[in-house]
Amino acid sequence: MGGASVAPRMSLRGRDVISIRDLSREEIEEILAAGRRMIPYAEGSKVSRPLADQIVAMAFFEPSTRTRLSFESAVQRLGGSCITIADMSATSMRKGESLSDTIHMLSGYADAIVIRHPNEGSARLAARVSAKPVLNAGDGAGQHPTQTLLDLATMQEAFGTLAGLRVVLLGDLRFGRTVHSLAYALALFGADLVLTSPPTLGLPEELKAPLEHLGAKVTTEPDIARAVADADVLYVTRIQKERFPDEAEYRKVAGSYRIDASVLAHAKPRLIVMHPLPRAGEIAAEVDATPHAAYFRQAFLAVPVRMALLDAVLGEPKRKG
């Protein structure tokens, strides 16, 4: 293998990663550190091929652009190759084949499986069926652990730490389980959380208590300007139309959560604005040119972070030292 050994030194080899809770704080830290070391390899300025001769199956049972492409890029940057199901209509599942059977088959064709599927719990089921490691790339409204990892990586790169950061979570905090995973991980690392959402889309109480139990200070601030005033990170999520009884109600709420230059006028100079993308009008294009915009960097960091995880799960066993 060319290049440095950049894999984390923990034992993620052969493991499934279905939920961020499958990883300990130490394991998350190691993946983030390995992700930082992977950046020049992700950019192509250095070359490392720990996944040479390995095949990763991309089992995407619902549409996804950046998650699938960044995983494919990550595999190929590490010297591996991909086999891909990107269009469900072209698979036997249309003919009534179960997910279990499809995964069983794929685990015979590949060394690991990356899965995105519309049903919650599908990735856990896939992990039980597959003889090879399964990485969850989003199961319905359920878990999306690599998104959480790259979100943490973006904040850590900007501030050098996660502890003590004041992070505003803005948008649908009730149903958005990606936000739930992120809130859990941020609490685990000692960040403080400010929750800003329409009244009907607040973080469920039963999820708030465990965050406080982890030691996080959790406050609710419905006013965006006040929430942003002393924040380090503004994490914006989509407000989904289907959560509202009618179009007019949706427009009212969506309009009140639009981030533009005027909202950021009183923000700290170092505030970063993040978004898992694609955005649908939540962040005005004028924000892109400000130093606050971190969402494209966040999208890029998907590659080195996913490389770090793939290398940890699949890479060659590393020599001691």
Binding site: S98, P118, N119, E120, G121, S122, G140
Partner: protein
């Protein structure tokens, strides 16, 4: 005073005693009385004085022993229940119901979008996250079940 139970002893079968007051009908639903041998007698006593719990319900079923799965379901809704196996009018064994760490095939996941509702070769499975109060989470989608009586399979 002579202690008298108002239902008759059974020769062979199962006595589920110390059921939380008012839950005998739930227990019957779990046992699925319709599926029993037509010659089996089922007796129910509700709102009976109990030395331990104030008031309790009792269910006696002839010629039936409970599967471990049904015992788990009873443990969920009536955690104080005891189960006695009767053979030839004698108590052969008596034990408390005990909630296992994982509950398989007893409840349906309350999340309609959970993979366990799809035509997959998979049984529902819940992890017992807390025992007092009982908190269960789907082993697949992680949805927490608060009112499991509504979700018995």
């Amino acid at each position: 005073m002579v202690r008298e139970l108002k239902i008759v002893p059974i020769k062979n079968g199962t006595v589920i005693d110390h059921i939380n007051n008012g839950l005998a009908l739930e227990v019957l639903r779990i046992i699925n009385v319709q599926s029993l041998d037509k010659d089996s007698t089922v007796s129910i006593a509700m709102h009976v004085r109990s030395a331990k719990h104030g008031w309790k319900d009792i269910v006696k079923v002839e010629n039936m022993e409970l599967s471990p799965r049904k015992v788990n379901a009873i443990a969920l809704i009536a955690p104080t229940a005891t189960i006695s196996i009767i053979r030839d009018f004698k108590v052969q064994s008596k034990r408390n119901v005990d909630l296992p760490d994982r509950i398989v095939g007893v409840l349906k996941c309350p999340n309609p979008n959970c993979i366990t509702h799809q035509p997959e070769p998979v049984e529902s499975e819940f992890a017992v996250e807390s025992r007092r109060p009982v908190v269960l989470a789907c082993a697949y989608c992680e949805r927490v079940v608060d009112d499991f009586r509504q979700h018995l399979a």
